[in-house]
Amino acid sequence: MKNLFYLFLAAVFIAGSYYIFTPSADKSQRAELSSQAEVAANKEAEESHEIDYENLPANEKALLDREDGQDEVRAAEMEYAIEQAPPNSDGFSITTEFKDESEDLMTQALNF
């Protein structure tokens, strides 16, 4: 019974050693296989609309890699978007008091 237990421990040790100490040549072979599998997986991911970090554009990766401050990122994005927005594209104005525009409108109608 004791022997069986030592045999089990030996098997676990061998398996662990194999996993940890596999030669790099084998690893590269495995990496190649893994790479092929990864391409297939990526294709599959694309088809299934999965998003993979490794395939994200550099700017999005950079955004994700920032240690903290997602709010700051959003704020920066917001400022950028506001700067990029064409002037007067909103079609409305925000005010704390309504302006009286009737004189201008009347002048326009009179001169039309």
Binding site: I51, D52, Y53, Q70, T96, S102, A109
Partner: protein, 469 residues
């Protein structure tokens, strides 16, 4: 015997000079009351629900009286502006696989509307401060002024205030990764928050003009309405309702932190992209920044509000074209009818003079031609329209506004009496043979005073004139 008496009358009157055309004129009036009532009727006819007609209060499935007509009615207190459907999204990060569940974010607006905002409208005959109603359609202000032979006006529409309802949608899912024969799990929780957005009122104004138009073929004079300009809507005290996405991960280790950041960004992007997609279906020119800072709410309402102002244009056009008096085709027809009546009577009398030997058949023929010409002259009458009336200028009629609902003849009139006195004048002129000056003037007075006059003295003058042709 009768002819002899007539002849004695003829000899007693002075004989007008022959030929040479003269201009005769009369003034006519258009009351502000008539024009504003016509505008109010037109608006009610075209938009009964807006003016609290054919609508019911407090129903869950139909817009209430004066309710901003946007959104799908959900219950008695809220309405659904639109839904943001975020589809399920699978992701794989560093071997951690998970699926963000499909989510439906409902954006609601409260049906309770906000009134009481101060507005810069100066009413005719009323200097008190004006505030908005919480009912839509009650704040349409129209100002009329005189232009060069035209009427110009400004109509301002105020939409009552409203607010969005805060909603929070929570989701959770598990991301898993297999390491040899072990499975590592990270619980990810997401919270989507729609912040409160509100505004006190929206104002949009437009200017228009009503100008005389002569038909090239028929020469008939009518009045055409044209819209000149429209202002961009002004939102009073707009508070924005940003949409925020928060993501948290539990069971965090160094991988969990990456998954957290990754999921945070991906989910945030997904939600923002879907919001952009859904809102942009209804609103042009929406940007990601609009979603982040709550401007989407204003843009959405802005687009709906513009449609509302657009919907006012046609009723205004119809009512203003109808409102304008004088109707020149009716004026010409009336003059011609009167002229034919006078011509018939006069020539019948002149025939008696001819029969009695007081005039010749040739003179009869010439007088008939003169009458034909005179009656034809009225078809080419000219109108200098929409002139300022001095008393109306002094009363501030051309610088003050009138609220459309105050002019609803079926509601209790709430306008100040000054509006009764406000008017435009129109100068009607026509060139006639100088011999017909008196008769033409008499006929114009008939029209102005709206009573039938035989113009007997003037007819006798014409008969005398006929004997000298």
């Amino acid at each position: 015997m009768r002819s002899l008496i007539l002849c004695s009358f003829i000899s007693a009157l002075s004989v007008p000079a022959l030929a040479a055309d003269v201009t005769i004129s009369t003034d006519m009036e258009s009351s502000f009351q008539g024009i504003h009532e016509s505008i109010a009727k037109g608006l009610y006819h075209e938009m009964p629900a807006l003016f609290s007609r054919s609508c019911e209060e407090g129903r869950a499935n139909i817009y209430s009286c004066g309710e901003i007509p946007v959104g799908k009615l959900d219950n008695e207190s809220d309405k659904n502006l639109f839904n943001i459907t975020i589809p399920a999204k699978s992701f794989n990060q560093k071997g951690f696989k998970g699926t963000f569940p499909a989510t439906n974010v409902k954006i609601f607006m409260s049906r309770k509307q906000i009134g009481g905002a101060s507005i810069p409208e100066k009413m005719i005959g009323d200097n008190s401060a004006i505030k908005t109603s919480s009912y839509m359609g009650r704040d349409i202000y129209v100002k009329l002024n005189s232009g060069n032979n035209k009427m110009v006006g400004v109509a301002c529409v105020y939409v009552p205030g409203a607010k969005t309802k805060i909603s929070t949608i929570k989701n959770s899912f598990v991301a898993k990764k297999k390491i040899v024969f072990l499975t590592s799990k990270i619980s990810i929780g997401t919270t989507i928050k729609v912040g409160e957005g509100s505004f006190d009122a929206i104002k949009t104004c437009m200017s228009f003009q009503v100008v005389p138009h002569t038909d090239a073929k028929t020469k008939a004079l009518s009045y055409k309405y044209t819209m000149i300009a429209q202002t961009k809507p002004q939102f009073l005290n707009l508070k924005r309702g940003p949409i925020k996405v928060e993501v948290t991960a539990k069971g965090a280790n160094w991988l969990g932190s990456i998954v957290n950041k990754f999921a945070n960004s991906i989910i945030t992007k997904q939600v923002k992209a879907e919001i952009l997609k859904q809102v942009s279906k209804q609103v042009d020119n929406i940007y990601e920044s609009d979603v982040l800072d709550g401007r989407w709410f204003a843009k959405y309402l802005n687009a709906k509000n513009l449609k509302l102002v657009d919907s006012l244009k046609e009723p205004l056009k119809k009512s203003l074209e109808k409102a304008y008096t004088p109707d020149t085709s009716a004026l010409v027809a009336s003059y011609q009818k009167a002229c034919e009546r006078v011509q018939k009577t006069s020539l019948a009398e002149f025939k008696k003079v001819v029969n009695a030997g007081g005039a010749t058949a040739a003179q009869m023929q010439k007088l008939t031609q003169k009458f034909d010409h005179f009656c034809g002259d009225f078809a080419s009458l000219k109108i200098s329209a929409f002139l300022k009336d001095s008393a109306s200028t002094a009363a501030g009629c051309y610088s003050g506004s009138v609220r459309a609902t105050d002019m609803d003849p079926l509601l209790r009139p709430r306008f100040k009496k000054t509006v009764f006195d406000c008017k435009f004048t129109h100068k009607v002129t026509v060139k006639v043979d100088s011999a017909f000056k008196g008769l033409g003037g008499c006929m114009m007075n008939q029209w102005k005073r709206n009573y039938s006059d035989s113009c007997r003295d003037e007819v006798i003058g014409i008969l005398k004139y006929g004997t000298q042709l």
